[in-house]
């Protein structure tokens, strides 16, 4: 049991951690303070209270309290809302908060090998592929998604008054109602449109470039800096593959297939000799079924797997080195 003094000190440290205070002198005393079992336990309780209170975001009691809290917007909103209107907004409670309150963003993510389907309040659906991270912000004028990592397929419910924007790196893909996939790749982002039409353009510094319209069956890429490429065919097979937990390799070089496989696996598969990467591979594989994949490589490409703790190395079977 912590003493009252330890508890209030823990709370002070907790509040300080959220303040942006970067004073090096205090940093040293923090490191000394936290290096104590009892202090750690008191601090954990602060963390628990903070994190679990976040679950109350939509609780009617909290929504009502928040509605009564002052906002910064009142300062520049001209004319100010009539008192009567403000009062009636209070009365509508949750509804009023959801429509008029500042949008809060919700984060959804997946680990390596994990996939996930998220139904959004506007009727749209986000399918998250392996090792991905999106933040969703639904407001009255815009539906904004930020793809921070990985890949997601968006099935967007039709709403002409509220465009659906996917921001990734220095680019933005905008739709009104359609289905499209955005993947962060090594050099930028790749967009494939499955239904309807989207526009793809640079954002931030790259916003000066005119956006490109991309219709169903087509795709584009853009660079880290937001420079949009020529139109190309959408990666329909690959996307339908991952949506059904399959990798579809249609006569592609082995190194490309392994790059795709490794997105879903904690233990990557590597080649003992890079030259082996030019062998071609065909087939449909279940994501996560390492045994079936390795056995196909053995039988089809004569590559034996040497499983280590951190990676699996493929070596040619004797007699099949070339």
């Amino acid at each position: 049991m912590s003493t009252p003094h330890v508890k209030s000190t823990a709370a002070e440290w907790f509040a300080r951690a959220r303040s942006g205070d970067t004073d090096p002198a205090r940093e040293q005393s923090w490191l000394e303070w936290i290096d104590d079992e009892g202090h750690q336990q008191a601090y954990e309780k602060c963390e628990l209270a903070w994190e679990l209170s976040g679950e109350l975001r939509r609780s009617p009691a909290i929504v009502a309290l928040l509605a009564a809290a002052p906002t910064a917007r009142a300062k520049w909103r001209v004319p100010a809302w009539p008192v009567g209107l403000a009062a009636s907004l209070l009365a509508v409670g949750v509804f009023g908060w959801r429509i008029l309150g500042p949008p809060t963003s919700t984060q959804y993510s997946t680990g390596i090998g994990e996939q996930r389907t998220v139904a959004l309040a506007d009727g749209s659906t986000v399918f998250l592929n392996t090792d991905s991270d999106v933040r969703v912000q639904l407001s009255r004028r815009v539906r904004r998604v930020e793809l921070a990592r990985g890949e997601a397929l968006f099935s967007v419910s039709h709403d002409p008054g509220r465009p659906f924007e996917v921001h990734a790196l220095q680019g933005v893909t905008t739709a009104i109602g359609t289905q499209f996939d955005v993947e962060l790749t090594r050099g930028g982002a790749a967009i494939s449109v499955l239904e309807g039409t989207v526009t793809v353009g640079g954002s931030g510094n790259a916003a000066a470039l005119p956006p490109v319209a991309v219709s169903a069956g087509n795709g584009v890429g853009y660079s880290q800096e937001g420079a949009v490429s020529q139109l190309r065919p959408a990666e329909v097979n690959r996307i339908q593959g991952w949506r059904t937990q399959r990798m579809i390799f249609n006569d592609i070089p082995l190194d490309a297939a392994l790059a795709e496989y490794n997105r879903y696996s904690r233990r990557p598969i590597v080649l003992s000799n890079p030259a082996l990467g030019s062998r071609h591979i065909n087939g449909v594989f279940h994501i996560g079924d390492e045994a079936a994949f390795l056995s196909a490589l053995d039988q089809g490409l004569h590559l034996k797997a040497d499983k280590g703790d951190v990676q699996t190395v493929l070596e040619p079977t004797p007699g099949y080195e070339q």
């Binding site: 300080r16 205070d21 936290i34 954990e44 809060t104």
Partner: protein
């Protein structure tokens, strides 16, 4: 004070770690040649026991062990390195809590649909159902009451920071308080909420 501190997990880091830290009283002593991984590992090891114990309040011990590991990977991969140890710890605990919440929702949605057709998938609503909260009903009620019982200014500071994601300087401006007062009121709020939760268990 920096305005972006409440968004510890937001965005992707653009710069590689370690950042430029020099002088003997740099925030966290990092050897100049330390790699990103060894920095994260050091930081993680300092808080590992605490994190594990924290997670065991939220999920089973087996799950906790797994989430500790996953949190470490996230910290490594995320790359958003914070040279202030307590901020990095906040990020770590927030990540772990999100992971625990995901796990909880996944389990809840699987329980809810024991005989789903093969094509049916996990659906996470924007609004959470009563069974999909990380905090149980009793904890939520306790916290709700503890928040309502806070002195008015303290409660306002807490609400604006927790639910509107405002920074201390922003809150200070809106409420016409000093930054130090905002921090003090946040500390008071947290102390009271954590005390309320301790009474429950």
């Amino acid at each position: 004070m920096k305005p972006e501190t409440t968004q510890l997990s937001a965005g992707m880091a653009q710069s590689a770690y370690p950042p430029d830290i020099d002088g003997p009283d740099a925030a966290v002593p990092i050897p100049a040649d330390a790699s990103h991984r060894s920095y994260v590992t050091m930081l993680f090891n300092r808080h590992r026991v605490s994190l594990q114990r924290y997670l065991m309040r939220l999920v089973s011990p087996d799950d906790a062990a797994e989430l500790v590991q996953e949190s470490y990977y996230r910290l490594l991969r995320h790359g958003e390195m914070l040279k202030i140890d307590a901020m990095a710890r906040s990020f770590l605990f927030q990540t772990a809590t999100n992971l625990a919440r995901d796990l909880y929702r996944r389990r809840a949605s699987h329980r809810a649909a024991l005989h789903v057709p093969i094509e049916d998938e996990e659906i996470i609503e924007d609004h959470l159902g009563p069974d999909e909260h990380l905090a149980g009903e009793q904890t939520r009620r306790l916290l709700e009451r503890a928040i309502a019982d806070l002195p008015e200014d303290t409660r306002t500071v807490f609400l604006l920071h927790r639910f509107r994601d405002l920074t201390y300087p922003q809150i200070a401006q809106i409420m016409r308080l000093s930054g130090r007062t905002v921090a003090r009121k946040m500390a008071e709020a947290i102390e009271r909420l954590s005390a309320a939760m301790s009474e429950a268990t």
